[in-house]
């Protein structure tokens, strides 16, 4: 039964997932080429100084990709379930409703995680060829809040899709947008160095949010 749920989720998101993986690979190649060109044109030192003195993010193209990935996977996973109220069928399976919601979420989180790992490993891997360790570390710290924003985008999409009431959909959307704004508040590198853990905890709390709208959906709340 659990295997079947995984399979059903995979069927829903596979094309979106494959498209996101390709887009991520494309984005990393784009950032690589951008850096390569910049090194070629103005030399390695000038590029290093752009990071060290100006605190520039040579990877700013990375910024919104995780959030887009999260929202796209969320839409592909949950919108078909709520249109024509298909999810109600799943709630009649001999699997606990909360368990099936968590399993759905697990599939979405895993799909996003694969995309983010691909992006992060690609970015950090090629950064190591061009930049010293200090800069690569700062790159890692700087992309972390964007990755959290990806997970928040995904879980917020799930919440909003499942929620039957328009008012609460708006509340969830506004609040999640507000929290993502905080994760995107950085204007230069390393700014989340000391606080990323706290933002991580709030993001972890998001993992639980899918159940309540799911419960309301099953009850047919208004």
């Amino acid at each position: 039964m659990i295997k079947a749920i995984f399979y059903k989720e995979w069927l829903k998101i596979r094309w979106a997932f494959i498209a996101l993986v390709l887009a991520s690979i494309f984005a990393i190649i784009y950032i690589c080429l951008d850096v390569r060109q910049s090194f070629e044109m103005s030399g390695a030192l000038r590029n290093w100084l752009q990071v060290v003195l100006r605190k520039n993010m040579y990877y700013s193209a990375f910024r919104y990709i995780p959030a887009v990935s999260g929202i796209v996977i969320g839409i592909f996973q949950f919108v078909p379930e709520v249109s024509k109220k298909r999810l109600r069928l799943a709630f009649h399976l001999p699997v606990d409703e909360r368990k099936s919601l968590f399993l759905m979420e697990l599939v979405g989180i895993t799909a996003n995680l694969i995309v983010y790992l691909l992006l992060a490993i690609g970015l950090l891997g090629f950064s190591r060829m061009y930049f010293p360790a200090e800069i690569v570390n700062s790159t890692f710290i700087t992309i972390l809040p964007w990755i959290l924003a990806g997970f928040v985008g995904y879980m917020a999409t799930a919440m909003i899709a499942l929620e039957p009431s328009l008012l609460l959909r708006i509340v969830y959307a506004v609040v999640s947008y507000g929290f993502m704004q905080l994760l995107y508040a950085g204007t230069f590198l390393n700014q989340f160095q000391h606080s990323i853990g706290k933002y991580g905890i709030v993001t972890a709390i998001y993992l639980l949010t899918v159940l309540f709208p799911g419960y309301r959906f099953r009850r047919g709340a208004k």
């Binding site: 030399g43 390695a44 030192l45 000038r46 590029n47 290093w48 100084l49 990071v51 060290v52 003195l53 605190k55 909360r98 060829m129 061009y130 930049f131 010293p132 200090e134 800069i135 700062s138 919440m159 008012l167 609460l168 509340v171 969830y172 609040v175 999640s176 507000g178 929290f179 905080l182 508040a185 950085g186 230069f188 590198l189 390393n190 700014q191 989340f192 160095q193 000391h194 606080s195 706290k198 933002y199 709030v202 709390i205 998001y206 993992l207 639980l208 949010t209 899918v210 159940l211 309540f212 419960y215 309301r216 009850r219 709340a221």
Partner: protein, 413 residues
């Protein structure tokens, strides 16, 4: 049970986001500009003068005995600061207190150094360019490598992204011969070529000993700087200035400020009292006759005028009404029980810091708690099963109140 927990997870997120944004919106909607006095010492009056936005929103220029001036009269009281304007008006005196002056002379003998709270915690990458300080050229050229200090001083060549062993060994051995203990605790310099000359870096080793490190004709110039053993350095600000009086400022953990003098690296303690570097901006203005030390924040601006040896000649304290002291600030403390700050004054990092607004906020909490119970009563809803909603409102006030009302409870299975 899990569904209930899920509802509270949503409520927690609402409270977190509201505690960041509602106080912000409150200030955006109701905040007023504060009128801070700008204080200077006038060598013409031998007394302090200040400018401040008046009640009508017009800038007012005054002295301490109540005299008021037009902007042109005011600037004539401050001939060192406004020398160029005075010259343009043809009123620059030939001498000030017996000191013959020209615009050129004044400009050569003016220096301004600052220390602002946000400098104290600045995200950065611990790599630094070491300039050639005795270059044959007039402009400073960036070197081909950046250095780091871990278990040794390492220079990394940018073009190849590899360590330059020759330079690394040269500087590491020189530092070790002077007793430098790796790694470095602090590396302070002015890593830009937009400065008249280069003085390299002031580096604190792992034993809290201070060293001056620069490159002269390709060779290491390293000097241990004698300092009191109990001096715990918090921050160093280096500014190369053609006056070559001091290399920069040292801020200690005890909130003292020292100048590192060119004269044998003597440390001169500035006569500050009740200086709080996390809340106050510090400025040191040196003109051809005096030095003016000013630190301001939290509604107070303190100005000290000293002689060349930094002995206090006169001092002045002025106050302004801060936003926190105004009605809008006091009401905030009743309305909100706490807030979450993502930006704090002494840091350029992003935070998520809890700030408790004090016991006044209990009134707000109590108000929203009663309002919540009233609404429940009016709607003829029982609280019983959702007693935790009361805990949420009691602990988070307006934030929890909004959250539990928006995300209403459900009839649970």
């Amino acid at each position: 049970m899990l569904n209930k927990i899920s509802r509270y997870a949503i409520i927690v997120i609402l409270v977190v986001v509201a505690a960041v944004f509602l106080p912000r919106f409150y200030w955006k909607a109701l905040g007023k500009s504060t009128s801070r006095p700008t204080v200077y010492y006038s060598p013409v009056l031998d007394d302090f003068v200040y400018s401040q936005t008046g009640a009508s929103g017009v800038m007012e220029y005054q002295d301490l005995s109540g005299g008021s001036y037009t902007i042109k009269e005011y600037q004539q009281l401050l001939p060192f600061l406004y020398a160029r304007n005075l010259e343009k008006w043809g009123v620059l005196p030939e001498s000030i207190k017996g000191l013959p002056v020209t615009v050129h002379f004044i400009q050569k003998n003016l220096q301004y150094s600052r220390l602002r709270p946000y400098e104290l915690n600045d995200p950065g990458v611990a790599l630094y360019p070491l300039f050639e300080s005795e270059s044959d050229f007039t402009t400073l050229e960036y070197p081909n490598e950046l250095f780091r200090i871990r278990e040794r001083m390492e220079f990394i060549t940018a073009a190849t992204n590899t360590v330059d062993e020759r330079l690394s060994v040269l500087f590491t051995e020189k530092l070790e011969s002077l007793g430098f203990q790796f790694p470095a605790r602090m590396i302070a310099g002015n890593p830009t070529n937009m400065k008249p000359f280069d003085e390299g870096y002031f580096i604190l080793d792992s034993q809290n000993d201070l060293f001056h490190v620069k490159m002269a004709k390709g060779q290491p110039y390293c000097v241990p700087i004698p300092k009191p053993a109990d001096m715990d350095i918090r921050y160093i600000s280096v500014t190369e200035n053609p006056r070559r009086e001091f290399y920069g400022l040292i801020l200690t953990q005890a909130d003292e400020v020292y100048l590192i003098m060119y004269d044998a690296y003597r440390l001169v303690k500035l006569p500050l009292v009740d200086f709080d570097p996390d809340e106050m901006s510090f400025g040191l203005l040196i003109d051809p006759l005096n030095s003016t030390i000013q630190y301001s924040g939290k509604g107070t601006v303190k100005t000290l005028v000293t002689d060349r040896a930094y002995n206090v000649l006169a001092e002045n304290v002025m106050h302004w009404v801060t936003n926190e002291e105004k009605a809008v600030g006091r009401i905030e403390k009743y309305l909100f029980p706490f807030c979450l700050n993502t930006r704090v004054g002494n840091s350029r990092f992003l935070h998520l810091d809890f700030e408790y607004y004090g016991p006044h906020s209990l009134f707000g909490v109590l108000f929203f708690l009663l309002l919540f119970v009233g609404i429940k009563y009016y709607r003829k809803e029982k609280i019983g099963a959702d007693w935790f909603d009361l805990v949420v409102v009691a602990s988070t006030g307006i934030y929890g109140f909004l959250a539990v009302l928006l995300v209403k409870t459900e009839p649970w299975d």
